[in-house]
Point group: C2
């Protein structure tokens, strides 16, 4: 999707919050803010919001001198998720529909997101898992996902945040063995999972891991490695987690199952959903992205 005017104040707010997570120094935050404002003044509104997200977090890493400001938060997320995992697996086993329950907990895990809120809130996490089995979701879409997965030879499961990865693993355990490749970021961006975070969650026990070769939130195919792009085009089923994947892949030219929590009113409007809704959505392309659009993105943003 495009970037909306309402995204702009939110970018500036996120930049400030994220900088404060990485550094307590006001002069560092001021330098970040000025560079973000300058970049935002000239940003492309026809590109998805994660383009600007990438720019913001590159500036933050540069000015704070920290290659991975979210490293500690990611480890804490994974540890918290691993502690919850046993109870979640028992609830899934005891559910009337274990596949659906596993999908629900994979979406519940998407609460571990520090792009929009930079503070660790254990109550928010607990509440989200408490309501996992009762939250309204699209049953037909879940059935459609189950059927697609059961007959697939190759599945690409694109992860989102560290910690959430643990619940992705629990869902992937219900897919046919040996079918899944799990996509992670090429290098640190916000608290998104990298290869190391996925391994910490035990993803390597249930899937092959591929990194997408870049540091943008979501999946900007044009910035991904050729290997990742080929895989994305060739597999039988693609599953993509979280809002940033929705923002970057909901105009792509193949079918994608999206699993996400809606956290932003602009994306909600694009999806005809409300903030707080849980999304199981089978996206089907209407029009393909043209070659010229892709090359334009390469030219401006690489």
């Amino acid at each position: 999707m495009q970037t909306y005017l309402d995204c702009v104040p939110c970018f500036v707010k996120q930049a400030l919050d994220a900088t404060r997570l990485a550094s307590a120094e006001d002069d560092v935050a001021e330098r970040v803010l000025r560079r973000v404002l300058e970049a935002a003044a000239h940003m492309r509104m026809d590109f998805p919001p994660p383009f600007m997200g990438r720019t913001i977090h590159r500036i933050i890493r540069d000015e704070t001198g920290s290659a991975d400001p979210y490293a500690a938060l990611k480890q804490k997320s994974t540890q918290t998720a691993l502690r919850l995992a046993g109870a979640v697996e028992r609830r899934i086993e005891n559910a009337s529909d274990p596949f659906e329950a596993a999908v629900r907990y994979a979406i519940a895990g998407n609460v571990m997101d520090y792009a929009l809120a930079s503070n660790w809130d254990v109550d928010k996490i607990d509440n989200c898992f408490d309501e996992a089995l009762s939250k309204p979701i699209d049953f037909d879409a879940v059935r459609s996902l189950e059927e697609s997965v059961s007959t697939a030879a190759r599945i690409l499961y694109i992860g989102d945040n560290a910690g959430e990865t643990v619940f992705d693993r629990i869902l992937i355990q219900r897919f046919p063995a040996g079918t899944v490749t799990y996509g992670v970021k090429g290098s640190p961006i916000i608290n998104d999972a990298t290869r190391e975070d996925a391994e910490d969650a035990g993803i390597d026990r249930v899937a092959h891991i591929i990194d997408n070769g870049n540091d943008a939130p979501g999946t900007i195919l044009d910035l991904c490695s050729a290997l990742f792009r080929d895989l994305f085009g060739e597999v039988d089923v693609v599953i993509a987690k979280g809002q940033a994947n929705l923002e970057t892949l909901n105009r792509c030219n193949r079918e994608v199952f999206f699993l996400a929590q809606v956290k932003c009113p602009v994306i909600g409007r694009d999806l005809n959903a409300q903030v707080g809704d849980w999304i199981v959505n089978l996206y089907r392309p209407e029009v393909s992205i043209t070659a010229s659009e892709v090359s334009l993105a390469v030219e401006v943003e690489r």
Copy 2:
């Protein structure tokens, strides 16, 4: 006071909201946003926030082609205030302490502010007037104001928003006749009162009106006319309404009585107050503004 980092996302949000009030066109809003972002990237953090407010609203007026985007909202505010005036005057007459009650309604009137919220909210206005007599305020400061006013030969009462002016008039009626000059903006800025708005509220029946010669929110003395600055320095008592006057005068070199509602957490922190608090505050200068600071401001901002 200086501009804080937390002011910056708020500037961008306000710019977008205010533009939408003035124009329904997304391309206009995009041009405004880009210019505001560019200006904010190079703003002076050591200047009070209203400097940037002035820049933002100059950009909005320029891009929307509207010399006074808030004209209709200001008239609506004045009409609403005039309808409420009779009931308010009766409640003041019947109060155990009519002077204090008049101060309370003058502060209640400060709810008619469209700098931070661009939407007309009649419930918010009604609620504010309903609680006017029960809201906690500083009684000692009210007594101090009453004493100062009762013995003053010359009073400068610096107004804030259109509509609020009506309740300023009701308070001024309790001051010694012929003592008050009422300060307004030199030209339209947000919904701040200009000479015309003050006259619509009947201020000219109880006070001489002086405009400050500029279009910045609050009172940036350095941008005011020599006549206004001289008056500010010479009068026995200065009363200043609203947050923007607090932001711009709380480092000035004379005593000022501030009457305001606290609407922003950053200003609240500066005042040791909470959002929603009502302020009756006698400011006394600790250090004077130096001549070099003043000339710097002239050089950069005129």
